[in-house]
């Protein structure tokens, strides 16, 4: 799998994304469409705002007693004949899945889209162990063919245009392909049908797991989730431990806002509810059911600055509205989950800007920032906290700007503001500041 090269600074990674014409086209079209669909869905749904508040309250109440709900979920799943595994680290989670694959003699695994499995880099581990992973969500299938990673949490191939997908199919499947989404979908469907029948293992994520019933819930649009959970002999669901919800009543609250936030749908096409393995007398379902609960730093954040991130439903609405994400896409961030700043779109009202500020505070307090930056901000504080320093800094700045200012603007200037003046004029410091003008305004 191709990885984002993290030795390249973020600014350079972002810069190459800005220069990628296909990426720019694909991102603009897709995010604009998502934004409009989401807005329309909530405009037609007057209860939406109240349900968002309620959903947030449920998430918070669940986090306060997460231990209790997780224990209840484990009990419920085990009562249904399923197995629950708790993985503290990605290594542990991969080990659990590989052990199941080895014990059951699995050679091929079909997968329904799962960010948790991306987070633990499960596909590489399966391949190394001789189990062929096949992604069955169309977007995931595309990026698996391209040896890439998802660049959006619900639209993994959002960075590709239909032309690029057609070229990819033609190259990988060695056939003529038109850049027609319906045609592309039909090809993928035919390719995948055989894999569903052949696979020994079905691997999914989970959008929710209901504590008191042991129900694992998958929200999909293509029906592949249902195939993955019903055809193979063994089903393994990998889920972030924070995704437990107390009851089916709570689940209904989330289902009403999740698809609207993600794609503007009232509900996704398929909402698959799975309860344990096939029971005696049932015709469909796996012989074995495993739920892998993944911690990977989540539990630590219950008491950390990212607590609210644990409310996240993975709808992607914050990505679609994020001005930075919309320019650079998901890969430039260099991690499984891009880090958006998109405010106000979150179905559970996570305050993302506030979390980002908290993280910057941690960076500052850990003294990671370059000394030049710390010096500049230290100086800024001194000036802003002292009216006399503030007053005297202005004539000084006017003196310093003299060589650069023409007609009230600065077109080029050294040091930090070079970055500004490369593409923008900078207003010159006013000949008389407001402080200096005030006495004459009386």
């Amino acid at each position: 799998m191709s990885e984002t090269d993290l030795s390249v600074p973020f600014r350079r990674r972002a810069g190459s994304a800005l220069g990628d014409k296909h990426l720019q086209e694909a991102l603009t079209i897709a995010t604009t469409k998502f934004i409009g669909l989401r807005r329309d869905a909530f405009d037609e749904f007057p209860e939406g705002e109240r349900l968002r508040d309620l959903a947030r309250e449920i998430k918070e109440a669940t986090l306060q007693h997460l231990d209790r709900y997780v224990e209840q979920l484990i009990d419920s799943v085990e009562r249904l004949g399923g197995h629950v595994h708790y993985a503290t680290t990605p290594e542990e989670a991969r080990r659990v899945v590989l052990d199941i694959a080895a014990r059951t003699g699995a050679r091929m695994a079909v997968k329904s889209k799962s960010m948790a499995s991306e987070e633990i880099h499960l596909n590489e581990a399966l391949e190394a162990a001789g189990v062929i992973p096949i992604e069955t969500d169309l977007g995931e299938y595309i990026i698996q063919l391209a040896h890439e990673r998802p660049s959006h949490i619900i639209a993994p191939a959002i960075h590709k245009t239909k032309g690029q997908v057609a070229d990819l199919f033609a190259k990988e499947l060695k056939r003529e392909v038109a850049a027609d989404p319906e045609e592309l979908t039909r090809i993928a469907r035919v390719e995948l049908r055989q894999k569903f029948l052949e696979a020994d293992l079905g691997i999914t994520g989970a959008n929710f797991a209901v504590a008191d019933t042991g129900t694992v819930v998958l929200v999909t649009n293509e029906g592949n989730g249902r195939m993955v959970t019903s055809l193979p002999r063994v089903h393994v669901a990998v889920m972030g431990v924070e995704k437990v919800v107390p009851s089916m009543t709570d689940l209904m609250v989330f289902l009403q806002i999740l698809a609207k936030s993600a794609t503007g749908q009232k509900l996704s096409v398929y909402t698959t509810l799975v309860r344990g393995p096939r029971r005696p007398g049932e015709l469909e379902g796996p012989d074995e059911f495993h739920l892998v609960l993944l911690d990977n730093g989540r539990i630590r954040q219950i008491a950390g600055p990212l607590r609210e991130a644990l409310y996240c439903l993975r709808c992607g609405a914050c990505l679609n509205v994020c001005p930075v994400y919309r320019q650079i896409g998901g890969h430039a961030y260099g991690y499984t989950y891009p880090g958006p700043i998109g405010a106000d779109a979150c179905p559970v009202r996570i305050d993302i800007p506030k979390m980002l500020v908290e993280l910057r505070r941690e960076i500052h307090e850990a003294r990671i920032a370059p000394w030049t930056e710390r010096l500049a901000y230290g100086l800024m504080e001194k000036v802003l906290a002292s009216p006399s320093l503030y007053r005297w800094s202005k004539p000084l700045a006017r003196l310093l700007q003299r060589p650069f200012a023409r007609d009230g603007r600065i077109r080029s200037v050294p040091l930090a503001f070079t970055e500004w003046t490369r593409t923008r004029d900078l207003p010159a410091l006013a000949p008389q500041t407001f402080h200096e003008q005030w006495p004459t305004l009386k």
Binding site: R11, V357, H364, E365, Y377, A416, F417, R422, R424, P427
Partner: protein, 244 residues
């Protein structure tokens, strides 16, 4: 207006240093409406640049000073959605564990962004425009998504005598300023700005109006570099027109 209203102007650091004409316009506008305008000396900046970059000890010191400076103000009027948001929403949390806590909460409750003060406190919605023809409006991030205000500026702009509001496509999208973001990731910031400017120019408006000096610095900087005919204008300058 029945009882005389008194308001203290928080001119903001950008307003003081780069756009003093905005503060002058606010002062004239409010005086014309019968408001007694004070300008507490000793004000510098709300501290947001420090706060947003994670320098919270410094931001707390600057915030505590600002709270002290505006202690006696009946109302505080800020011609910036961003700084108004800082005072209203971040000060109480920032000063929670300090002796200034109660004063910070009191200040938060009395601080208004300019368009909100005009419409929601004074109930004034009809003004003469200082420019004629079409104007378009950019929603700044903190005013729209922080203070959840998109109405007050539009009420003022729609009722303008002498100018016509045309909505800006993508008017609620960021202009790419973002404080230090504009120089930390200048390429991303500039590309966001490119799109904003294309949208502004497509409206055929003579001016792009905003309620935040940061956005006006960014949009004005881009328009200036392109030698565009579109003028960046603070809402205050547009409304204070007929005294000129």
């Amino acid at each position: 207006m029945n009882a005389p209203v008194r308001a203290a102007l928080m001119v903001t650091c950008l307003g003081d240093m780069f756009f003093p004409e905005v503060g002058v316009s606010v002062t004239r506008l409010l005086r014309r409406l019968g408001v007694t305008v004070d300008f507490p000396q000793g004000q510098t900046c709300c501290g947001q640049p420090l706060f947003n970059s994670g320098y919270h000890a410094g931001a707390t010191r600057v915030a505590a000073r600002t709270v002290e400076v505006f202690r006696d103000a009946e109302h505080v009027v800020v011609p910036s959605g961003s700084c108004a948001y800082m005072v209203r929403h971040e000060y109480p949390a920032l000063l929670r564990d300090t002796p200034a806590r109660a004063e910070a909460e009191r200040l938060a409750g009395r601080t208004y962004e300019l368009s909100q003060f005009l419409v929601r406190v004074l109930g004034k919605t009809r003004f003469k425009a200082s420019v004629s023809g079409r104007v378009t409006y950019h929603d700044s991030c903190h005013l729209l998504r922080g203070l959840h205000e998109s109405e007050a500026p539009r009420i003022l702009l729609k009722n303008l005598e002498g100018a016509e509001l045309v909505e800006l496509p993508g008017g609620d999208e960021c202009c790419g300023f973002g404080g230090s973001f504009s120089v930390r990731l200048p390429e991303v910031s500039s590309q966001i700005l490119d799109k904003k400017i294309r949208n502004i120019e497509a409206t055929g408006a003579a001016c792009v109006v905003a309620c935040d000096s940061g956005c006006l610095m960014q949009m004005g900087g881009g328009l200036g570099r392109r030698r565009s005919k579109v003028r960046p204008l603070h809402l205050a300058e547009l409304l204070a027109g007929d005294e000129r």
